[in-house]
């Protein structure tokens, strides 16, 4: 049988970007620091050696070898396990370094880590062909992403309810981030826009309403027919948050779009055909 080398799909490129962004954020934000309060496995083993530049360089070399293998689909399950463990380690070190035990490591680490772990679990646990494993992995990642969106909505509904739509508090948030000297995207025009926005709480309320609506509809991402529309709605929400609030987490716009419009299965692969499973309802690969 003639085998044509598989070309990585858009989703695979985006996931590789997410994996790289996770590494960059961790390296620039945590390496060189110290463990203040050990969390998770860091309570059992002293992991401070991982925060030293020399050891981190070796770790990084292995990590990027895995990212390359992930792109080339070499030993996918093993590579998935290594990447999942690596991100879990980064999450542990990040929480231990910041000593914020009651919160997540970072939004990018969470999203990329959770999705790659879900994907790996599907590859490891699903019997049958690679096409079937990838299909299961894709469906599960979509389900998990939908759950993440619903969780963000649920935490807002349960903590603040409709009060979350109060534009004054959002205006204050925007002002807090725009007025200080350390802001994301130091672009004067953006800062001016944010200062203007903080003077208009009614507009902030509309933005908050849209955010809460989109997050509350996270279940839509479970349904293949609605994935594209929902991914666009999420992208719109996050672009708005980025421009208005300076909230910019790599992967949060791109990954849902990639899951909605593409799959991790390769764009061109003559070694297998897509399964004819009645549960197989995901969009075609691009």
């Amino acid at each position: 049988m003639k085998v044509t080398p598989a070309r990585p799909s858009v989703a695979r490129w985006v996931m590789a970007y997410g994996l790289t962004a996770t590494w960059v954020l961790f390296t620039t934000g945590t390496i060189g620091g110290t463990i203040r309060t050990p969390w998770g496995i860091a309570r059992l083993f002293d992991l401070s050696f991982l925060l030293t530049p020399g050891v981190w360089a070796v770790f990084s070399a292995i990590y990027f070898l895995c990212v390359f293998a992930f792109m080339r689909r070499i030993r996918e399950a093993l590579v998935g396990v290594l990447l999942s463990v690596s991100i879990a380690l980064m999450a542990t070190l990040r929480i231990s370094e910041t000593a914020r035990l009651d919160t997540m490591p970072s939004l990018t680490t969470m999203l990329v880590g959770v999705l790659i772990t879900t994907w790996t679990l599907a590859l490891v646990a699903t019997p049958g062909s690679m096409a079937r494993k990838e299909q299961v992995g894709h469906e599960m990642m979509c389900g998990v992403f939908g759950a993440i969106m619903c969780l963000t909505a649920w935490s807002k509904w349960s903590t603040s309810g409709l009060q979350w739509l109060d534009g004054n508090t959002h205006a204050l948030w925007i002002y807090e981030r725009a007025a200080g000297p350390v802001v994301v995207f130091e672009i004067p025009m953006l800062r001016a826009f944010r200062m203007w926005l903080s003077d208009h709480p009614t507009i902030c309320s509309f933005g908050a309403g849209y955010t809460l609506l989109v997050e509350s509809l996270g279940f839509l991402f479970v349904v293949p027919r609605w994935r594209k529309a929902y991914a666009i709605a999420v992208a719109g929400m996050l672009i708005g948050l980025g421009v208005g609030l300076g909230f910019a987490e790599p992967g949060w716009i791109e990954l849902p779009l990639a899951l909605g419009f593409s799959q991790l299965a390769s764009a061109k692969d003559t070694t297998h055909r897509a399964p004819t499973d009645p549960d197989h309802t995901a969009p075609s690969v691009r």
Binding site: E139, V144, T159, Y175, V182
Partner: protein, 146 residues
């Protein structure tokens, strides 16, 4: 049967993963890879704060170019007492990291400019945002100008 036609099919796998992650996160809370994603959920407060950095008494709009920071320990940098609980921690994290990266190296001369780090307390009301305390000091040291 009509209902089956009206609603698009829902893949069992996606639904299963959706329910598992939702329930797991709700039960376990902040335990990677689970989380309740409760960032920005707390709402309704009227008080806030933002960081203020002064170099020789002049308030800076950016930290870019400020080097050889001395006398400020990034490890102990905290918002002052009285800072509202809802204030985002990451601007301080960014600053802490910036100071760690741009601190004065041994053997280099001390910067000539006086660096002051503080917080400005704010309150929002029907008439907009107003400053309640213009500068609450956090730390002081020296730095070199851009």
């Amino acid at each position: 049967m009509r209902l089956r036609h009206r609603f698009p099919p829902i893949p069992k796998l996606a639904l299963g993963a959706f329910v598992l992650y939702l329930v797991g996160s709700a039960l376990l809370g902040e335990a990677y890879p689970f989380s309740r994603y409760s960032m920005y959920a707390q709402h309704g407060y009227q008080d806030g704060a933002h960081l203020v950095i002064r170099l020789d008494g002049v308030e800076l709009q950016t930290m870019r170019g400020i080097v050889d920071i001395d006398g400020v320990d990034p490890e102990t940098l905290r918002y002052p007492q009285g800072t509202p609980a809802g204030v985002a921690g990451y601007p301080l994290d960014h600053l802490r990291h910036y100071i760690a990266q741009h601190g004065r190296r041994p053997g280099t001369a001390t910067g000539e400019a006086q660096l002051e780090i503080g917080a400005r307390f704010l309150r929002v009301g029907p008439s907009g945002i107003r400053v309640t305390q213009a500068f609450v000091p956090i730390a002081a040291g020296t730095a070199r100008r851009p």
